[in-house]
Amino acid sequence: MLLNILIVVGTLICSIQAIRSNRLLISALWLAGSSALVALLLYMLGAAEVAVIELSVGAGLVTVIFVFAINIAGEESFSIRRLIPRPITWGLLAVTVVLLGGLTLSHMAPVLPGIDALPFAKAVWEVRGLDALLQVIIIFSGVLGLLGLLAENSGAGQFDPISGDKPGVKL
């Protein structure tokens, strides 16, 4: 029991640090830690397959992509001024969490002991086959997004908003 609470606290600490950290690279590493702990929580819930996928994709692939993008874009420090005032932020947050928690707790049913007539593979490939098709389409759009990440900025043909012409065709 204490282990569960420790894992949940660790997950929340990693997530808060990912938001709070000033350096983007450190933030990505905290996010990877959060993903790993979420995968552990999924395993404790009995969802071993999704836990493995979350660990490999969430803590592995996404972190690599984050580090790659941060290396390309570079670090940038901003002033402290916020877009939304602090009282409004905390108020919205409190209302959301309290409403969500209250609604969920009021509908919490007792855990049914080990009833699982539908295995994971059958659920993915047969019952929710349309979801699998949708995932293929989403993955293709992700590949297109990755091409956008890898696209080089050659400069030729890029629109210059000040002079109004293309720098690559200047004589």
Binding site: T11, L45, A47, Q135
Partner: protein
Amino acid sequence: MNFSIPNVILLAVLGLLGVGLYGLLVMRNLIKVVVALQILAKGAILALVLAGRMQGAIGIGQSMALTVIVADTVIAVIGLSLAVQVRRHCGTLDVQALSSLRR
């Protein structure tokens, strides 16, 4: 409220959703916005699997969580590629500076 596994994980779900929402409201860096979205999606994944377990149909919950993981990863890739291209063309990742460029 007892500290059984579902209750403890429900707390984690609420915490992750809260932290992600806070990040979305406060962050000005485009890459940090993607980080906040990732945290929000992790809360959703945990919530789906928890709901599946509570209803005794964890296979369905897992398959829905798998869809969310795939969509979440693609959102991260597209969001980061957009952030990189914005940085190249506009020279900043600041959301407020980008919105003031329109004027």
